[in-house]
């Protein structure tokens, strides 16, 4: 027995993690998921492209007069029907002889407002249903998840067609947004529920329970802020889906009334002349695709930035 056995009853300081712990500067702002994600986002070209496009779409939607002085519905001359571009009318004319460019500019706000109303609706319903189902589990989960399945198992375009037929006398931006949103929220709820199932097992939740924080307060203060990240990405992508859904419904003839400026309506009316004047259909389709592309790109950039696994895969 040597007597230096007792000398190192604690580990050698150099072998411990003390140096690393000492190196942490307390005064520095602590990083969190969102700060990391924000830093990561700013290195992604996709984020800048999508951001610029969204900014452009929003500007067009709020200030259409900055982009065109031609009225979209008045002064339409049938002599110009399906006409090619002339000075002041860069994209040509629709079948009714209206300026295509002006109609696209003025249709932007319709698409954008439907998209925004739908995501407000789906996020609200999705958060309520998803968080309660995931956090409380058991019979609450059983009931709420089955309720979600009921809405999820009907294809939402078809469901919206039925709702729009029910409300055939008063179709407007609010009704069409509700028709889309009521059948679109279960996907948001599912994403949130899955994330909450993971988060509620983490140590800090157990710690809060141990010090006697009420269940509801744990949900609001600890579980929700840590599981909302995937919802942000899903919501951005579903904004694009909602804009496309509005156009699809208008295209199917059960969307907004033709008096409302909408890309879907314009595409719908142009399909009869596809063989002779394809440009009338192509331009609003392009506007629709680019808008949807912008939001999908933004959603994917956000999703990858918030997901440590995807960040590692880059």
């Amino acid at each position: 027995m040597t007597n230096n056995r007792n000398e190192h009853f604690v580990a050698n300081l150099a072998d411990t993690a003390m140096a690393e712990i000492d190196a942490v500067r307390i005064s520095e702002k602590p990083t969190n998921l969102y700060l990391d994600a924000w830093r990561d986002l700013r290195t992604r070209p996709m984020f800048y492209i999508a951001g610029l496009l969204i900014l452009l779409v929003a500007t067009v939607a709020f200030f259409p007069d900055l982009f065109t002085q031609t009225p979209p519905n008045d002064n339409c001359l049938l002599a110009n029907s399906n006409g090619s571009p002339t000075a002041g009318h860069p994209l040509g004319f629709t079948r009714q002889g209206c300026d295509i460019y002006s109609r696209i500019v003025h249709g932007t706000s319709t698409s954008l407002s439907v998209g925004l109303i739908v995501i407000v609706l789906t996020t609200l319903l999705g958060i309520i249903f998803g968080s309660l189902a995931g956090f409380y589990g058991k019979w609450v989960d059983a009931i709420l998840s089955r309720a979600g399945d009921i809405f999820f198992s009907i294809p939402y375009i078809l469901a919206a067609v039925v709702i729009m037929s029910v409300f055939s006398d008063f179709r407007n931006v609010w009704v069409i947004s509700a028709a889309i949103g009521i059948f679109a929220w279960p996907s948001t709820a599912r994403v949130l529920r899955g994330e909450i199932l993971r988060v509620k097992q983490l140590d800090y939740v157990m710690a809060s329970t141990a010090i006697g924080v009420s269940r509801f307060r744990i949900l609001l203060r600890h579980v929700m802020p840590n599981s909302i990240a995937p919802v942000i990405a899903v919501t951005t992508i579903s904004l694009a889906a909602a804009i496309v859904a509005e156009a699809t419904l208008s295209f199917l003839g059960v969307g907004l009334p033709t008096s409302t400026m909408s890309w879907g309506n314009d595409i719908s009316q142009a399909q009869a002349d596809l063989r002779t004047a394809p440009q009338v259909l192509i331009w609003p389709s392009l506007a629709l695709s680019i808008t949807s592309l912008a939001f999908i790109m933004m959603g994917e950039a956000i999703r990858d930035a918030l997901d440590p696994k995807a960040r590692a895969q880059r």
Partner: protein, 309 residues
Amino acid sequence: MTGYIIRRVLQALPVFFGTTLLIYFMVFAMPGDPIVALFGDKGVNPAIADQLRAQYHLDQPFIVQYLIYIGGIFQGDFGTSFSGQPVGQILASTFPVTLRLALIAVVIEMIVGVAIGLVAGLRKGKWFDNSSLVASLILISTPVFVIAFVSQFFFAIKLGWARATVSGEANFAELILPGMVLATLGVAYIIRLTRSSVIDTASQDFVRTAYSKGLSRARVTRVHILRNSMIPVVTYVSIDFGILLVGATVTEGIFNVPGVGRTLYQAIIRGEGPTVVSFVTVMVLLYLVVNLLTDLLYAALDPRIRYDK
């Protein structure tokens, strides 16, 4: 396994009744009187109208109508459309068309999507990978009716390679163009799924072991990487197949395909309550069955997944 299946079926029951009740209620709430519409421009004969209402149980309260209808479904009777044709017959004539269309779309999705996704995943970060990602992004964000019109315009009208619209027969050759249009979204998703799955698998230890055993690159790719990357792809395809089976309203409408989606859409527009409800009921049943099969398939493909405790 049996216990799991029984539990799943029991869980599906409230969803089935809830969905059919919901759709029945919505159709019930649609404005307009279909019986009056049947008379067209002629005056309504009250005696015949009453007789028709009794025949279709339209004189009963809502919930009784629903129960009569559901009772019929369980006896294999899908009701009668207002034009007098049994809905079962309409389903039998439209469903094979949609099945053919869905098969074409799924086969295209699998071949094109997996091939591009595999190459992109193996050459992560190279130009092929980047351009396939951009292409898939563009395909995902383009609405299906735009893709349908553009391909109809180029392939059918400009180039004349295919017919712009489908005839009543709707055989395989005619359905290739609409099938391609339907497949585009799936192709885009499968490229991305395959790519990230291949990247994941390629960094696994067993792939390194396979290389160090001296296996050829082609064999490692085929047997070790591709096979083990297929699980998410196969589950996606089976879910997508279920979605395609319930009909592609827009694509079928544009190409005039006499399938489930177009028929259902026309039934909704005409206010054909019985047809709408029966079609949606069959759709929901299909959806629930495909969902269950997908979960079972998942367990069959990945032995680590067990549904029995």
